[in-house]
Amino acid sequence: MKPRILLVEDEALVAMMMEDVLEDLGWEVAASFADVRPTLEWLEKCDTLDGAVLDINLGAEMVFPVAEALRKRGTPFTFLTGYTAPPKAVEFETPVLTKPVDVDELERVLERFRQAA
């Protein structure tokens, strides 16, 4: 069974590409969202999740409530951003990938998620 990953990304183009990339790297994209609220609602009902990729800036809001929820349930995740990482992101002590994404780097980060499971 493929490991399951959550994607939170507000740009449709980037989201579609990330889905392809994640599938190529052997993951099943369990869900992808552009906003915090539907993500949190989905997380509450989600049983298994092996990792997540979170875009930091979601237009009008930041992704941190999702990061908090993932930290609570012990699901590893990486941030993705077009800006330099804000101080709040650094507090989570997780990887931070920059856009446009380097697929090799993403692969290394996801490999660590697999091993941590």
């Binding site: 507000d10 740009e11 449709a12 183009l13 980037v14 989201a15 579609m16 590409m17 392809d20 990339v21 992808s32 552009a34 237009g59 009008a60 077009g82 800006y83 920059t98 856009k99 446009p100 994404v101």
Partner: protein
């Protein structure tokens, strides 16, 4: 009036002290970076130099005098504001003239009631700033006396240095704001460039997956890059605040509407889309147009495309319905493989705008319908 000692007649020791005090005050004024700093330097410097019993620093606040700071043997008016026409500091600023008053209760320009609770019996009030005084410095004495020329000249010298200090503060603030704005713009530019690169990366990788040959890739990739560039153009037009749905749709379909009029109809109320949403919308409509031009209504004479949208104002939140309808084209066949174009339409558009969408290869003509609540991403303008 009795003859006043000239500066040259004053014993050497005290004129050296006066000079040192003046130089020291001017030096400290030159390094002041805020109005509060200036006031603090002036109140003590002016008092030391004039030997007055009190000094007040007054700022012009539109049509009022604001007594911002003081250094005196007794309380004056610190923190209070008076109408400019009702106080001597206002008179000095409005008339651009120094007022020298040996007995305040004999002068009609003084609001006597405001002075009665204070120690003041005589004063000198000099404006700061030659053309358009923005402040005034007052030196006050507890006895009726005629202020000396030396005292008046000292105060005027400090006033000139103070005017320069105010101008410096204004320039430094203005420069700081300009630098902040520039840094903000640089960060914004960096962000947009990174976003654009990420968009291009996405278009390239997806086009590559679904292209059967290098030529096919180049053609489709080039067309999508053009569409992306049009989206950015429309966003730049409104400083990247939002883009208009009608303009985006027209730009997306421009490559497919040659001189044959009436083949593409676009209609609906004014809707504004956030930048990321705008890019996705333009690319999605562009894909619909590409398909119509290759296989559908725009591939032959007599075919028509109708793109229209409306907002249900009664619903809460309000719902946007967008419809694409092709008519008069050849018989439709569903594509065998889902390629990037369809993905952009069926997945990309609802992802970006929100809501749900359906792409239907009905035999009479392709239709696409999207329904989404209005939001910060898609709004009536």
């Amino acid at each position: 009036m009795a003859a006043q000692p000239a500066l040259a007649d004053i014993p050497a020791a005290s004129s050296t002290l006066a000079l040192n005090t003046l130089v020291d005050t001017i030096e400290r004024l030159s390094s002041a970076r805020t109005v509060a700093d200036i006031a603090a330097v002036v109140r003590t410097g002016a008092r030391a130099l004039t030997g007055a019993d009190g000094v007040a620093v007054v700022l012009r606040d539109e049509d009022r005098c604001h007594y911002v700071d003081e250094d005196a043997v007794g309380p004056l008016w610190k923190g209070l504001k008076f109408p400019m026409t009702a106080c001597i500091s206002g008179w000095a600023m409005l008339n651009r003239e120094t007022a020298v008053i040996p007995d305040i209760y004999k002068d009609a320009r003084i609001p006597h009631d405001a002075y009665r609770p204070t120690f003041v019996k005589s004063l000198v009030m000099t404006p700061v700033g030659g053309d358009q005084p923005v402040a005034a410095i007052g030196a006050y004495w507890a006895a009726e006396r005629t202020p000396t020329n030396e005292e008046i000249d000292s105060l005027k010298a400090i006033a000139r240095a103070t005017a320069t200090a105010f101008e410096n503060v204004r320039l430094v603030n203005s420069l700081t704001e300009t630098i902040n704005q520039r840094d903000f713009l640089i960060r914004e530019l960096d962000h947009r460039v990174k976003n654009m690169l990420a968009s291009i990366q996405s278009i390239a990788t997806q086009s590559l997956r679904s292209s059967e040959s290098q030529e096919a890739f180049v053609e489709v990739f080039a067309a999508r890059l053009q569409a992306l560039s049009h989206a950015h153009e429309l966003l730049t037009k409104r400083s990247w605040k939002h883009a208009d749905l009608k303009e985006l749709s027209a730009a997306a379909l421009a490559p497919f509407s040659d001189s044959k009029t009436g083949r593409i109809r676009i209609d609906g109320p004014q809707i504004g889309l956030r930048p990321e949403t705008a890019v996705a919308l333009l690319l999605g409509i562009h894909e619909l147009g590409t398909n119509a031009a290759k296989y559908g209504a725009l591939s032959q004479d007599g075919g028509t495309v109708d793109l229209s949208w409306n907002v249900d104002m009664g619903a809460e939140p309000r719902i946007l319905t967008l419809d694409w309808r092709e008519t008069g084209g050849p018989a439709v066949e569903a594509p065998k493989a889902k390629h990037m174009g369809c993905k952009m339409i069926e997945r990309g558009l609802p992802y970006a705008l929100g809501g749900t969408a359906k792409l239907d290869f009905a035999p009479e003509g392709v239709t696409f319908s999207l329904k989404t609540p209005l939001s910060e991403r898609v709004a009536l303008t």
